[in-house]
Amino acid sequence: MTEFSPGLEGVVAAETAVSEVDGANGRLIYRGGYLIEDVAAVASYEEIVHLLLQGDLPNSRQLDALRRQMAEARTLNDAGLGAIMALDPDTDPMDTLRTVVSAQGATRSITKPTLDEAIALTSIFPTIVAAAHRRRLGKEIVEPRPDLDHAANLLWMMEGTEPPAERASWVGHYLVLLADHGLNASTFAARVIASTGSDLTSSVVGAIGALKGAAHGGATLAARSMLDKIGSADNAEKWLKDAHARHERFAGFGHRVYRTYDPRAKSLREMAKTAAPQLHKTAARTEELALQILHEAHPERPNATNVDFWASVVLTGAGIPKEMFTCIFATSRVAGWTAHVLESLSDLRIIRPASRWVGPEGGKQALPLAGR
């Protein structure tokens, strides 16, 4: 038996070729050995789906086939549609996503996860997310458009009008950057579930549940909420100093793995200049001061800006309402979740760690009810 490592920090729980977070050098490597900044420069989200699920970037013929397959898998079945209509329109959209994915994937008997199923799941997320959004607004659900790519169709279904190419490209770029990230908590949850021989829907539903947490997917919304409170670049100094004095955590800073600037944050920061010039100003000033304050308080810590901080700015510029941020994160990450599950099948072994007993020794006498 080994030592207890809280949060399993530093414990290697899987071997993977899907992605690698090289925290020491600030590098994120996607399957096939591509650095995130290199692959994001040449690939659409659909190409990344192919890369993560099938091991390499597609050629044009493979990409066309995948696009068609994805476009055809954008429609909810009766159970999925029934679930979405059953929920109150003001339900937390992550709860809607969790429930509808579960209902959509309900089957008569258990099946082994497959590539086609992974593609279908990835394809259906925008439909559910957009429907949740429309219902929150009290509007009709918009049918998917097979002629639009994944990102543009997402905006189309959310807004009911065809989005300008630039906005679709910001969303697409975001989806590429967030599609996988080593053994993060939601991906790990998916792999633990898969390790019991369960089905792909169960893994993905569990991963959605984990991503919902404020310490994981919820961090993008927290970053935006902080920027909303700060309001303007001029107010940043006063707000941050006050917050620091109140021992409030700055949303969007710090990561367990990166010891240098997160490469995704770098890419999003650059995009934010065009996508959301006004908010970029506030965010840039906030970042500068926050890093300064954090460095003074904890010079020994790396204190780098994380992806959530700049993602919140780019998504804002792309026209995504902040209540939908975590859902859009899930819409990207589902490719990584399913890729990890498929990978894990080749050497499936139940993930069942140990626990350390800190309760009373066994053998306590159970008094009958009357004697308690």
């Binding site: 207890f4 399993l8 414990v11 290697v12 729980a13 899987a14 993977t16 096939g32 290199d38 190409e47 970037l57 159970a79 029934g82 679930a83 209509m85 059953a86 929920l87 937390d92 709860d95 969790r98 429930t99 579960s102 309900a106 089957t107 258990i110 080593g182 053994l183 908590a185 790990f188 949850a189 633990v192 579930i193 390790s195 019991t196 369960s198 089905d199 829907t201 169960s202 893994s203 569990g206 991963a207 984990a210 919902k212 947490g213 310490a215 994981h216 367990r256 139940i350 993930i351 760690p353 140990a354 626990s355 007993w357 800190v358 053998g363 306590k364 159970a366 009810l369 009357a370 308690r372």
Partner: protein, 372 residues
């Protein structure tokens, strides 16, 4: 510091807990200081749920309070009932449970897990299963009865009539025995999800997904099907030796932790002898033969009968169809899952292990037009 890859996290301590201890060496299961054998015969499921949630057995007044609270939380929300009715009637009941627990727990903002939320969630499991079971038979749901305990009411809602005290007692003992079991895969899943500061329903939905896997919650029909194929006690030896030459696995044997007889299996076995003599005659002979054959093959391995083997006989005696074995396991384990989530969130740290990258070293991606 990063260590070596540990497949299945075997032997890695992932959490400290005071809820239950599996003492595999000595074949003991301890709930908060009480060995399982001391609880199984005399305690109601409600008393054990109180023990797991609050850390101590209830007084009469506390038990009355909890019993009332559970009984008052049994009804499904309109959204949950509508989702249940949207699922095809041939859906796997585990998928029904996963989807409807997800709806029953929807929120309008992220809430921290609490004991009242745990009570609310655990109370709904039997209602979901009973309602769906009735729907499959083309029957209307039966409203829960507040004057019946957890076990008695589950049976009442399934059958629209009260069961005999002996059958109620058998189900109650089963629910007590299965309520918690250290850091098993579904409980660990629930804790991973809780560690992101997600909500209780997300944790439960993930745990249900993990329990669905045949390596954990069991292939419901597997034990029964194998016994049916063997047919008679007299046929056991011949059938099983023959099966072994074709590498057929014996269902209901082996566990990663117990090195001696699982204490739950011992109690369930005695119950089978009383309640299901026909099953017992065949099963005990099959067990004896299986253990003998497995010992001949691997004398170094502890080949203990696991809890699934005699659970099948008890649940059959209660009158449950075999597809309802795994979700009835979940009815019981809901108490343990929720207790672990509360314990995790009281002293939380994000569970985020590392992975070891086994993909290629970084290289440049080719643009689409240049890919072969």
């Amino acid at each position: 510091m990063t260590g070596a890859y540990v497949p299945g996290l075997e032997g890695i301590i992932a959490a400290q807990t005071a809820i239950s201890m599996v003492d595999g060496e000595n074949g003991r299961l301890v709930y908060r200081g009480y060995v399982i054998a001391d609880l199984a015969e005399d305690m109601s499921f409600e008393e054990v749920a109180h023990l797991l949630w609050y850390g101590r057995l209830p007084t009469r007044a506390e038990l009355d309070g909890l019993t009332l609270e559970l009984a008052a939380s049994r009804a499904l929300t309109p959204a949950a009932a509508a989702t249940l009715n949207a699922l095809p009637t041939d859906t796997d009941p585990m998928d029904v449970l996963r989807s409807v627990v997800s709806v029953q727990g929807v929120e309008h903002r992220l809430e921290k897990p609490t004991i009242p939320l745990a009570v609310h969630a655990a109370a709904s499991f039997p209602t979901i299963l009973a309602n769906f079971h009735r729907r499959q038979a083309g029957l209307d749901p039966v409203a829960p009865r507040a004057d019946l305990g957890h076990a008695a009411n589950y049976l009442y809602m399934l059958n629209a009539r009260e069961s005999s005290p002996e059958i109620v007692r058998a189900l109650n003992t089963y629910l007590v025995l299965l309520a918690d079991h250290g850091m098993n895969a579904s409980t660990f899943t629930a804790r991973v999800i809780a560690s992101t500061d997600s909500d209780l329903a997300s944790c439960l939905v993930g745990a249900i997904g993990a329990l669905k896997g045949p390596a954990h919650g069991g292939a419901p029909s597997a034990v029964m099907d194998q016994l049916e194929m063997i047919g008679t006690a007299a046929n056991a030896e011949r059938w099983m030796r023959e099966a072994r030459t074709q590498k057929v696995r014996f269902m209901g044997f082996g566990h990663r932790i117990y090195r001696t007889y699982d204490p739950r299996a011992r109690i369930l076995k005695a119950m089978c002898e009383r309640l299901n003599p026909q099953f017992y005659d065949l099963a005990s002979k099959v067990e004896e033969t299986a253990l003998a054959i497995l010992h001949e093959e691997h004398p170094e391995r502890p080949q203990a009968t696991n809890v699934e083997f005699y659970s099948a006989g008890v649940l059959q005696a209660i009158g449950l169809p075999k597809e309802y074995f795994p979700p009835t396991f979940a009815v019981s384990r809901a108490a343990g899952w929720t207790a672990h989530v509360l314990e995790q969130s009281a002293n939380n740290r994000l569970i985020r292990p590392q992975s070891e990258y086994i993909g290629p070293e970084p290289r440049k991606p080719a643009p689409l037009a240049e890919r072969g």
